[in-house]
Symmetry: C2
Subunit: 362 residues, 2 copies
């Protein structure tokens, strides 16, 4: 009886964090298409790299993966940009490649080079070695979200995320980053049926993982299709979009954002799937994207390189972006992850310009 009571208390306490009303729910109200008092702002890759405070934590462990897999530290660097940069959301510090690893395909993160998979998935025996992952296989990120929620104490929402299945597939088949991902793309031509089976396994794993993130308290989730733009429109329609759509249909509890980098040709189709927000990269014209994507909230899209400019130029570029999106249904962000050598003061300036200028646009 005593033990039973104890368990109940833990559940209640977790639920409390989950349901605690947010002090800053600007992003969520924007996604609900409410006319908010200003434009919300956060940055892709804000958790990490650019902040000296991040590098201090990063240097206290053996490598990037140890940081991802240590919930207390992952939570710490997740909260840092909220404190330091003043963003309207925290995105959980993790990596899209936790999914292949949870499916049975280990990866290494090589400093300054990127991910490397010692083994790849190109044959039936390779595929047979994989399993559909549970959220529990990535418990460290689930735990990191719980700790983050507790530490944020309702200050801002927490964004969960995963890679889109095609992008994960690309790494699993190619074995590393690549300019062309020609081995992964070749697989779609040579073994379409095999490709669909692998993509289905990734999709199922991703749904399990995102549901775990949501149970742990993620207030919204984003799918990153980082290598969307190297597929032909026909292949994108066959091998990427349906799996993104399946994930969006399966996730009902929180709003969903789809960021398909360089997939300019798929904007109309992405506008029709069951997501709330669509991310734009900096090459996508804002007006044209509004027309193609329709009623969804848009997120983006300042060129990350603009943050290398002087303060006045950043102000001008940011205001120009805000004017192009208009005051409502927009979440300000960069058009890609913030580049590692960006000056954090410039990032703060970007955040402040969004806050001040967008308030004046009402």
């Amino acid at each position: 009886m005593k033990r039973f009571t104890f368990v109940l208390i833990i559940i209640t306490s977790t639920q409390l964090y989950l349901r605690m009303p947010l002090k800053n729910d600007l992003i969520l109200r924007t996604i609900r298409r409410e006319k908010t008092e200003r434009t919300p702002v956060w940055l892709m890759r804000q958790a990490g790299r650019i902040l000296p405070e991040y590098r201090k934590v990063r240097n206290s462990v053996s490598g990037f993966k140890e940081l991802v897999e240590t919930p207390e530290l992952a939570a710490e660097v997740t909260v840092q940009p909220v404190d330091i940069l003043g963003t309207d959301a925290a995105i959980i510090f993790s990596d899209i490649l936790v999914i292949p690893e949870a499916m049975g395909l280990k990866y290494e993160m090589i400093e300054k080079k990127g991910p490397l998979f010692p083994e790849t998935v190109r044959t039936e025996p390779d595929l047979k070695k994989l399993r559909v992952a549970d959220a529990g296989d990535i418990q460290y990120t689930i735990d990191a979200i719980r700790i983050t929620k507790k530490e944020l104490d309702g200050r801002v929402p927490v964004i969960g995320f995963a890679g889109a299945p095609w992008t994960i597939f690309a790494y699993m088949v190619e074995g590393s980053g690549s300019k062309t991902f020609s081995k992964a793309r070749a697989m779609l031509y040579t073994h379409p049926e095999f490709s669909h089976r692998l993509l289905a396994m990734i999709t199922e794993s991703t749904i399990n993982y995102l549901q775990g993130q949501i149970s742990a308290g993620a207030d919204l989730v984003q799918l990153f299709d980082s290598w969307a733009g190297i597929l032909s429109p026909a292949h994108y329609k066959e091998f990427s979009l349906p799996y993104i759509a399946e994930i969006c249909d399966a996730i009902q509890e929180v709003p969903k954002t789809v960021f398909a980098k360089d997939a300019w040709f798929a904007r109309r189709s992405i506008g029709k799937i069951n997501c709330n927000t669509v991310g734009l990269d900096w090459c996508m014209d804002i007006r044209e994207s509004r027309e193609l994507i329709g009623d969804k909230v848009l997120q983006g899209n300042l060129d990350p390189c603009a943050l290398y400019a002087g303060y006045d130029e950043i102000t001008e570029q940011t205001r120009h972006m805000l004017n192009s999106f208009g005051p409502y249904y927009h979440i300000a962000n960069l058009g890609h992850g913030v580049y590692p050598d960006t000056d954090p003061e410039k990032v703060k300036h970007f955040v402040n310009v969004v806050k001040e200028y967008s308030a004046g646009m009402r």
Copy 2:
């Protein structure tokens, strides 16, 4: 008097090669918008890499650059794909980075890694060290074109080429290949006036170089804007297009092709500049591109990865592409350079399907 006669003979003999009527002028007739008997076909990067005959020549010298700089050998590998693959044009074997080198910025080609510039152009003193290049600074490629013309003996036209100024600028500032070219793109935000001066020098050098290629016998020229797609539309309009337009205006003697990879957003603008043909990558929808680009001849655009598929799939994909372009005003090609590990037999198959199927489309 004797010496004078001798010189005259040489000039006459060179002119003979230049003006010799072509036995296969299918590409040139297509560019003149004539209704040809079939669709012409060639492949970007056909001269090199995929052919064992190329590798034999390549292995006889110390490296890629020695091959580029040895006219007889460059001509030999230029002619190979005409003999072996049956393409309707030869493209001179060279590299877009001969221009920076002729301007005073040496580069190395690192095997399996790509180009590396030991010095870059980021400051006024860097810029002051550079000069506008003459065609004579790249005499080896000019000579290679002359030898190629002689060896081809009018069988097919010879395509000359250069990088578009933005792409050359990107390498000169960045110092190597890069996924983001963030240093080069940052320069456009931080030092726009400096950027324009460097771009103007590259443009002038490129015009001199292309005029040299044409004097040596190039029957048409192509500009490769390989890194077009990483610029925002506003930056593309300011830092790339005007320089491409300037080159196209300066070259009057032969037809010009512009291939701006991934610059889907610039298709309407490219359709308005003074070029004859526009290259499409494999992500660009053919019908949409025809509408945006207007009256120009289109070139492309099979996904290079399609050539990894089986013969039947290649047939199907190639026919589908040909049907989408329609019978006229199209030069068949891939949507990017042929990948190095492509089976030459598959390439031959692609060439043959274009020839046979397009003849039947009339």
